[in-house]
């Protein structure tokens, strides 16, 4: 398959992810959208690694996945904590940091 | 000399040991905390005497590579010389007295107070001893933090306002100084002061803006008119011990900065701008004296008197001759002693009456004769009565300024001499309102006179006040090499200018 398909799929995934982050109010969905963006990046890494025949891109993917896992873990913990006090995980209600 | 047994290093960082020990006490063990702080500061004073004994020996300083930033070496360079030895001694001398003065005055969060106080001492000693610009800057900024908390946590009613004002004013100046330091470093490829002095040519073209950048930071600290308005607020709100250190040492950092950096690094700019700086100093002298006269709060009066006194110091510095410079350095010590003592007196009064307004006193000489007599001596020292320390400093400064070639006119000294009259006006006004006249408030009738502890705080100051007044020779002797260094720089610059 030509390189373009992979790139196009990655771009689509990334845009879906962005739109998800921007328009959804449920924090879980926002997280999932973030994951989608991570994976779009991962897809690019793998694609180019295969294309250029190097391993560095694939190694990077492991790092990204680790970071993503850690981030989700922290994020979910935060969600749980927030849900306990606010009884909601609507991101629009979490605006107490506004100026 | 090994690193560990280096007297300078030991002295500078010994207060950290005390602070660490205090960390292990419980907050309720107030007495133990106080004694630890006192003993630590006394040992530090002892160590500073060791430094004094080692003064003049070549190997006593510390000079080694510390780290590099962007390829530029930063040195850990600390040494003692004619410019800073008296400042160091003043710091270590005043700190134990200030600590002792808090025995009754600070009852809350004693632990934090003492830790911050000892940290402050480290910072001040570092400022005076550091001979690398980056190291100096680190210490310079470091002193802000403990002082900020001392004012902001243990201060009076408007402490937050005062603390923030103090912090912002100083910070604003120092940031610009940092830019100048970086410029110097990039051009001369070093931050080490001796190396910079050797490489003066590399920034000769930018002397005036560099001078201005440094001068701004130092002028705020001194403070010179019209950058002084943080001082009265900070003094009024700070706890007594904080005021003592603020007036006694922190302000001197500004004047010291002028001597150490402005005059040595930019002698040509110093010569060119001397009349302007001296002009501001003269305004400060007269202005501070006039404003002090109208104050109702005794502490504010003393604070404005500082503006006036530091004006004398600045005038002496920019006289740029031996008399003016030596007088200025001595006057820095004198101001630390007299104004420090005045703040202590105000603190004693405050502890007794919980007010500092002059109208709530009057006739106190009758109820607290010892306190009143000592306050009179201290006021006299502050207004420059011959035989006491203030006169020696003021007279040498004014003599120097009167015939100064750099200022080129006796008017600076002539107008400043008016300050001698005005000082008598406001200080005697204070004496009259607080200690003389009839007792107008019943609660003033039976105030306790000075306790032995309070006497122990004030008597050492008086001893030095008389000592400098009657026999200042040893002090001038210590200053002399520093002054000679500056004079050499100024003279070669004067030759280059003409």
């Amino acid at each position: 398959m030509p390189l373009g398909y992979y790139l196009a799929l990655s771009a689509v995934m990334f845009v879906i992810g962005i739109v998800g982050v921007l328009v959804r109010r449920n924090a879980l969905i926002v997280f999932m959208s973030l994951e989608l963006m991570f994976n779009a990046a991962n897809l690019l890494f793998v694609t180019f690694a295969a294309y250029y025949g190097t391993i560095i891109g694939q190694i990077s993917v492991f790092f990204v996945m680790t970071v993503a896992a850690a981030e989700v873990a922290v994020g979910l913990a935060l969600m749980v904590a927030i849900f306990r006090t606010k009884h909601s995980i609507d991101v629009d209600q979490m605006s107490s940091l506004k100026g | 000399m090994t690193m560990v047994l280096n007297p300078i290093l030991l002295m500078t960082f010994f207060p950290l040991v005390g602070a660490a020990v205090i960390l292990f006490f419980k907050s309720e063990q107030k007495s133990a905390i106080r004694w630890t702080a006192l003993i630590t500061s006394l040992v530090t004073f002892g160590l500073s005497l060791w430094v004094l004994a080692a003064y003049g020996r070549q190997d006593v300083g510390i000079h080694r590579l510390w780290f590099r930033i962007a390829g530029l070496p930063i040195h850990f360079h600390m040494a003692v010389d004619g410019l800073n030895i008296l400042m160091v001694l003043l710091t270590t001398f005043l700190t134990p007295l200030a600590v002792l003065s808090t025995w009754k005055a600070v009852e809350e969060r004693v632990k934090g107070f003492m830790i911050f106080f000892l940290l402050l001492e480290v910072g001040m000693l570092g400022v005076f001893l550091a001979l690398d610009l980056v190291l100096f800057y680190i210490f310079w900024e470091f002193t802000l933090i403990p002082m900020y908390f001392l004012i902001g946590l243990w201060g009076g009613e408007r402490r937050i306002y005062a603390a923030v004002k103090f912090f912002l004013f100083t910070m604003a100046g120092s940031v610009i100084m940092l830019l100048a330091i970086l410029y110097l470093g990039w051009n001369a490829k070093t931050f080490d002061l001796p190396a910079l002095l050797a490489a003066r040519d590399s920034f000769a073209a930018a002397q005036i803006p560099l001078f201005a950048a440094f001068a701004l930071a130092f002028a705020i600290k001194v403070p010179m008119w019209p950058l002084h308005t943080w001082l009265p607020d900070a003094h009024v709100e700070a706890p007594t011990a904080g005021s003592v250190i603020l007036a006694g040492v922190l302000l001197k950092m500004g004047a010291y900065g002028f001597l150490r950096f402005n005059l040595l690094l930019f002698p040509q700019a110093s010569l060119q701008l001397a009349p302007w700086m001296a002009g501001l100093a003269v305004i400060g002298i007269l202005y501070g004296a006039a404003v002090a006269y109208t104050q109702k709060d005794v502490k504010k009066l003393v604070a404005y008197s500082s503006v006036s006194h530091l004006g004398f110091v600045m005038l002496g510095i920019f006289a740029l001759n031996a008399e003016g410079l030596s007088g200025a350095i001595l006057q820095m010590v004198n101001h630390g002693l007299s104004t420090g003592a005045l703040f202590l007196m105000v603190g004693f009064l405050y502890e007794r009456r919980h007010t500092r307004l002059m109208e709530s006193f009057g006739g106190l000489w009758k109820s607290v004769p010892v306190l009143a007599a000592l306050a009179l001596i201290v006021s006299l020292s502050s207004m420059g009565l011959p035989g006491l320390n203030g006169f020696v400093g003021e007279f040498t400064i004014l003599t120097g300024a009167f015939g100064s070639a750099a200022l080129g006119s006796p008017w600076f000294a002539g107008l400043s001499t008016l300050g001698v009259i005005l000082a008598a006006v406001y200080l005697l006004h204070m004496m009259e309102k607080v200690f003389l006249g009839p007792i107008t408030h019943a609660e003033n009738r039976s105030l306790p006179d000075l306790s032995p502890r309070e006497l122990a705080v004030i008597l050492p100051l008086l001893v030095v006040i008389f000592w400098i007044g009657l026999y200042p020779k040893p002090f001038f002797g210590l200053i002399e090499p520093g002054v000679a260094q500056i004079l050499a720089a100024v003279q070669s610059a004067a030759l280059a200018l003409h």
């Binding site: 506004k98 | 109208t294 011959p386 009259i421 006006v425």
Partner: protein
Amino acid sequence: MLLSETLQNPAVSLVPWVVFLPLIGLVINLVLGQRLGEKFVGAVASLAALAAFGVAVVLAVTLAGEPGVGKFHLLDWIQVGGLNLGWDFRVDTLSVTMMLVVAGVGSLIHIYATAYMHSDVRHNGDPSRYRRFFVYFNLFILAMMILVSADSYLMLFVGWEGVGLCSYLLIGFWFEKGADGTANAKAAKKAFVVNRVGDFGLLLAMFLLFWNFKSLSFDEIFAQAPALAQAAPGVVLAVTLFMLLGVAGKSAQLPLFVWLPDAMAGPTPVSALIHAATMVTAGVYLVARSSPLYLEVPAAQQAVMWVGALTALFAATIAVAQNDIKKVLAYSTISQLGFMVAAVGMTAYVAGMFHLITHAFFKALLFLSAGSVILGLEHGHAHSHNGHNGHEEDHFDPQDMRNMGGLQGRMKTTFWVYLIGALALAGIAPLSGFFSKDEILAAALHTSPAIFALLIAAAFLTAFYMGRQVFLVFFGRPRSTAAEHAVESPALITVPLILLALLSALGGALNLPKIYTLEHWLEHSLQHSLVVEFNLTVAVGSVLLALTAIALAWWLYGKRQMRASDPDPLAAPLGGLFRALQNKWWVDELYQAVIVRPYHALASWLSGPVDSTGIDGIANGLGQLTHWAAGSLRRIQTGYVRTYVLVVLFGVVLMLAFLAFN
């Protein structure tokens, strides 16, 4: 060397003891006085002063045998740059003369004060201040000794300001008394501040001296004075005129005399010692000491002379209309100081010093006797108060001459010594004042008729107001119950009075015409003093004039019996002029309006509108500007995560676009 060769006599090394002995006295009293009681305190202080007098006598004897200038270096002091000053003492006939006067009259006043203060502290209700008084008194002797024994202008200045401090402390001795309870404290402050104005002049003179002579020590300056006066006459003129400002401050001359009348708030021994006999003459001493400078600039001599002569007449006019027994003496002191200053102005230094000495005798005598009168009246007041069950008004003023009268019978010793003092001051032959004043008048006639006219008018008024005072106080019938019951003071008070009366009567012998002991003695120190031969016409004329004035005083005040509430007999004929005199020509009010209030207004303006609103306003304004800017910008921070994400997205897109198209 301008002056005679240096004296090598070992006795010279005694000179620091004139300073140390009072120091020892005051330290002993400070440390032990509270425990050991009044007798001990008084004895220690008096002995300290007497011992200093002893040292001065030894020095005088040494100098008499071996004239010259002795110097003693005690300790280095300020040595920095070109300044090279030590604690250097100087022993020459001039300084020793001053030491003798200070310690001699001082000792007598100390002894007098041991008794006077005993009742004064009780009368004022705080016996614990007895010790404090003598500590201050010894401190004064110490400072005055530094002043007169200094070998440089700067050390002289130490004593100069030191005596000013003592004056401050002693004027404010009863700091809670006086009108409103604050008058004494204010008087003390006024004295110090006005003196500081003078010291300002002296400081400037010293700066000029230092930069032009590279020294502040007398010999080095005087040796170069003629050369510098040739090269830069303006400098020497400026120095001498600035010095004159200092003289005007310390010696209470126009325009700085205003502090001295108020200084009478101090206890009477203070008025006698500090504000009559010694401290206020420091200005005269300064001009005499600086004679080599003044001799170079006739313009400065003129200035000094005129200031002195005008002050002499001006103060004498005010003295005529005062009712307070001490105020009369205070203005008389200013007037007599004017005579001395005028004398040294016309380079008649010996005459000035002579009058300084005799004035110290008779004015100390007058003040102390006045103190004795006041004590007597206070006793009488207390006595009558008990007897009459408090019928008398509460504000009885024991110093008001209108409440006196007829004391001649009840206080015999005091009356006689007072009479001697008053006649000496009036210049009646052969008392001491006659000789010294005549020397000045003769010199004035020789120098300038205008000055002579001013001084002779002042002399006439002097005799008049002293006559008025004596008649009001001692003659006629008592005008208050207190005066009826006045009692004579104890021996500790009257014995010093008698001794001073002897000195006042015989002091003229120091410099009798044709013999001129003092002149020969002082010529080692004052080489170019103007000497005018004894002028019989002037002498006889001035005595006749004084007698006329006394007769006039008798006609106005002695002839008729007056009551306390009667207006002054002079009030009607003089009218508005008398009111001007009574109000001291409104000089205080003038200074209040021209200097004090404007300064206060200026200071308030600076601390209010300028400092708080202006300068601090700019600083706080910057803060508010930041605050406002931040307040506007903070709306960007919505708190919604997605807004931030959108911004990040735009940012990334912009950066990518920038990278792609650049």
